[in-house]
């Protein structure tokens, strides 16, 4: 059995230990593969391991991964060790393993987007994010579970079974990047890449006690990110610490001439601002993103968070984003509209599932009926309707106007304050199946995260404390603080998050009666 501390420390600490020669990249990768084999519910044989089907998963299997590229990861690690031994100059995080959301393309393994539609599809090209990671010698362990085509807030919409929350295996990890969140919280990868369209990184980060960031729209290339809503999708990091998250975003943020929406400006230095100091900064509390609908436990942690920021010398002021309450309905028109067009290409003609039928039109219909799950169908129908002639002005166009107003609200607010804060999610992690039949209740998870998505602003979630779930007296589940910053000032949100994190001292390791076991306990010590 490998050294359990290798799976329960930070990415930067692993990088340091590899640079110092204390441990090899291969040992680090093997430690993670061992734990994945033992706790994630995968069929651990062959060059690529596959997650078990939902019916075969055990009650304690996390099911973070859909595919584990075991052979490729070991080979990459060996190659890094060889080059390090040969004295080659390597990137600062060379050898650190990573989990990649299954919505980003990577050669050599299937990209399914959590859908039957793409079962077995092996992409012919690498996403720009995947290439950036490889260039940095970050070792991809595998592809993580997600709500089908990133549509959902619990990862229960995956065609391949639910992912469980490492803090309570009977609860959801959030979504849509629930697999990436569960991998990092569940000691199955030190950090991970997710994607965020309306909160799909921030909300699962909050529900699993992690740092998760959605960069400014256009900071990270979308090439190879299978589109849900093109004007909103953005890839970003999951990590156990703010510093790890900033380091991972630094690896993937750069201009890409093959993405027309990629920002050309030079990106801010994220690591330089991590000084643990927010004294004198003005931080705005968004009036509209609290109150009704937010659990009392979440509100209590949020109130304590404000006090903590104030105690660090930040000036806390209340700020209004007057159009934020319209953000959720606007989001649930714009995102499905784009999705209805983006997902049209899944027609059985060129790749993925095909259900044969006498004519092309019937084949398209049969394939889409069989390949898409109910939530995807629901959103395609909503989006198709919203774009239809006669409804376009009332729905898509109106929602676009609301979006413009929300962006203006953010600009106005950032004229007064340096950063904005709110709870990330109105609730702590909820029980598996508890909201699965109520789409509206599920959509309300995104109420606090969609405004920054619509405006394009950077936003992250940082662990703020623990709170009791209303349905489980005495439970202790993570709560996230959302920090939003001006456009292209991702450095500001990391700076605030870092200072807050240092003052909070949150222990990211899952604990509780139904939490995953972490081997570190057996050694009585955890490297942090």
């Amino acid at each position: 059995m490998s050294d359990p501390s290798l799976t329960s420390t930070t990415a930067l600490e692993l990088a340091r230990r590899m640079r110092a020669g204390e441990v090899s990249a291969r040992e680090v990768v093997d430690a993670h593969l061992d734990r994945i084999a033992a706790t994630d519910g995968v069929v651990a044989d062959g060059p690529v391991w596959h997650g078990r089907d939902a019916a075969e998963l055990g009650p304690d299997d996390v099911h973070a991964y859909l595919a584990v590229t075991a052979d490729a990861a070991r080979e990459h690690a060996d190659d890094i060790d060889r080059r390090r031994a040969a004295g080659e100059e390597l990137g600062p995080y060379a050898g650190v393993p990573l989990a990649l959301k299954d919505v980003l393309t990577m050669r050599g393994a299937p990209t399914t987007c959590g859908s039957r539609m793409l079962e077995g599809w092996v992409p012919p090209y690498d996403a720009t994010v995947t290439t950036s990671l490889r260039v940095a010698d970050v070792v991809v362990l595998g592809k993580t579970n997600m709500d089908e085509f990133a549509m959902g807030s619990s990862t229960e919409n995956s065609a391949y079974g639910d992912t469980r929350n490492p803090w309570d295996l009977d609860r959801v990890p959030g979504g849509s990047s629930g697999g990436s969140a569960a991998a990092v919280a569940g000691l199955l990868a030190p950090w991970a890449i997710g994607t965020d369209t309306g909160g799909s990184i921030r909300q699962p980060a909050a529900l699993t006690g992690l740092v998760g960031a959605k960069p400014t729209y256009g900071t990270v290339s979308r090439r190879g990110l299978v589109a849900f809503a093109s004007s909103l999708d953005q890839a970003g990091p999951f990590a156990r610490t703010v510093e790890d998250a900033a380091a991972l975003q630094s690896l993937i943020q750069h201009h890409d001439e093959r993405d027309s929406t990629s920002i050309r400006d030079t990106v801010p230095d994220l690591m330089g601002g991590l000084v643990g100091d927010v004294a004198g900064m003005r931080i705005g509390v968004v009036r509209e993103l609290q109150g009704e609908g937010y659990e009392p436990g979440v509100e209590a942690v949020f109130a304590a968070s404000l006090e903590r920021l104030a105690s660090l010398g930040a000036e806390i002021v209340e700020v209004s984003l007057p159009h934020a309450p319209s953000g959720l309905p606007a989001y649930y028109l714009i995102a499905p509209s784009e999705a209805s067009s983006n997902l049209a290409r899944f027609d059985g003609v060129r790749y993925g599932l095909r259900v044969d039928a006498p004519t092309a039109e019937e084949m398209n219909a049969a394939t889409r009926a069989a390949g898409f799950g109910p939530e995807v169908k629901r959103r395609i129908m909503i989006g198709t309707h919203a774009l239809s002639s006669g409804y376009y002005d009332a729905y898509y166009l109106q929602a676009s106007k609301v979006r413009t107003l929300i962006a203006q609200d953010f600009r106005t607010a950032f004229g007064e304050v340096d950063a904005l804060v709110s709870p990330t999610s109105p609730t702590v992690a909820f029980g598996l199946g508890s909201k699965a039949d109520d789409p509206l209740a599920m959509y309300l998870n995104d109420v606090a995260t969609v405004p920054a998505s619509l405006a394009g602003n950077p936003a992250l979630s940082v662990p703020a404390g623990l709170a009791e779930a209303p349905d489980a007296p005495g439970s202790q589940l993570p709560v996230g603080l959302q920090i939003m910053a001006p456009l292209k000032r991702d450095d500001v949100m990391y700076r605030v998050a870092h200072a807050f994190e240092q003052a909070t001292g949150f222990d990211w390791r899952p604990r509780g009666p139904r939490a995953v076991g972490h081997g570190a306990d057996t050694t009585g010590e955890v490297a942090r």
């Binding site: 980003l104 393309t105 990209t111 987007c113 793409l118 599809w121 992409p123 012919p124 090209y125 996403a127 979308r222 090439r223 190879g224 990110l225 299978v226 589109a227 809503a229 093109s230 004007s231 001439e257 093959r258 993405d259 027309s260 929406t261 509209s337 784009e338 209805s340 067009s341 049209a344 290409r345 899944f346 027609d347 003609v349 060129r350 790749y351 092309a360 039109e361 398209n364 198709t384 774009l387 239809s388 002639s389 376009y392 898509y396």
Partner: protein, 497 residues
Amino acid sequence: MSADTLLPQGWELVVGLEVHVELQTNTKMWCGCSTEFGDEPNTNVCEVCTGQPGSLPVVNAQAIEDAILLGLALNGGVAEVCRFHRKNYFYPDLAKNYQISQYDVPLIHDGHLDVDVVVSDDAGEESIDRRRVRIERLHMEEDTGKSLHVGDTGRLHGADRSLIDYNRCGIPLLEIVSRPDIHDPETAQAYLRELQAIVQALGVSDARMEEGSIRCDANVSVREVGDELGTRTEIKNLNSVRSLGRAIRYEAQRQVAVIEDGGTIRMETRHWDESAGRTETLRVKESVTDYRYFPDPDLVEITSPADRVEAARARLPELPAAARSRLAQAGVVREQAAAIVGAGTLGWYDDAVRAGGDPQLVANWLAGDLVGQLAAAEVTLEESGVTGAHLAELVGLVADGTLSTKLARQVLDGLIEERGAKTPAEVAKDRGLEQVSDEGELRTIVERVIAANADTVEDIRGGNAKAIGALVGQVMKETRGQADPRKTNELLRELIG
């Protein structure tokens, strides 16, 4: 047939044309794939043009510049922002099941094209009528792939299976929509021909109808003069300028016949059957297709193309109409001017005139004998090596009597054989083709012919002036065609008296 005899008295034809032009950029509209025509199926493809998940389009700047160039040539206004929309519809050869196109703001708006149509009056006298066809818009989009239906007919109906070639998918395409300003088939044909000539002169496309790099659909309706516009049908599968004229003629007469029989015209798309010479229903448009256009979020608006517009204007070459009128002013007859401009041999004309060639004489060759001689030699003018300077020299040699027209043709053949490696004078000398115009030598021959044809001479003296032709023929025979005909005539008249 003119518009007057096309339809019964009191009826008017109304036609609007939608022309698609494939741009000959090196690479496709959104990716780096080649636009080469005729390559093996699915070899010029990548993740972008086959719509693989996660792929993103990046606009080809050259395509926008070419489109602006054509827009300026069509007297259109250029939009301040270039914005792309998605046109959503399912079709297997449309890789993404949406076409990136333009919607509310086309790149070019409100242009026009003036076309010249030959009309004849009641006395059969021909004249040129200049007609303006307004252009509503020119917008950019991407081409689709090509479906190949394997089965009995080659058409979708009854096919066993379909194959798709995505080589064409994503090639930049311009759609040029005219206003319904066309009222006879001839104007429609002249419009299409002129558009083709402009596109070729600009070098933005080879505009070959047979390869599909220019395609034309016609919206045809009829009405009683003074009425509102009638219901239109859209005619597809027009593979030549000739088909366009025939199809409009057929469809106009069909529509009038239907209405006069008490029927109504359905809004539908009709297929032109070239061999049967008729249109037939392809699909009925029961309702307007809802394409659910919305701005493509994968592309950003390209703002302030003012500098691009000026750059394009600066590289706008002389347009065909201007070239034709310049030639006409230089004395070239209209048909020849049109032929030279249409054939793309204007450069040779200009070079020849610059080298001192007489415009009309140069034009005679360029639009006349040279065309047939090149065809016979199976070479293009470019390949032949014949230059404008050669043509100037050739017409000079004819004008000063060194060569007869007939000899000049032989010199030209020689020039083509030599691929322009020699000058006309050198070819004439090498091949002994110079005309006998030395007066002494010619006089001797003429005297011999007169002596040998006493009867004919008597005939001429008796008043039959036409008989002199027979003697010219004899002289030509003696000189193997190298006698200067003008001088021969003069000498014969002088010596016969």
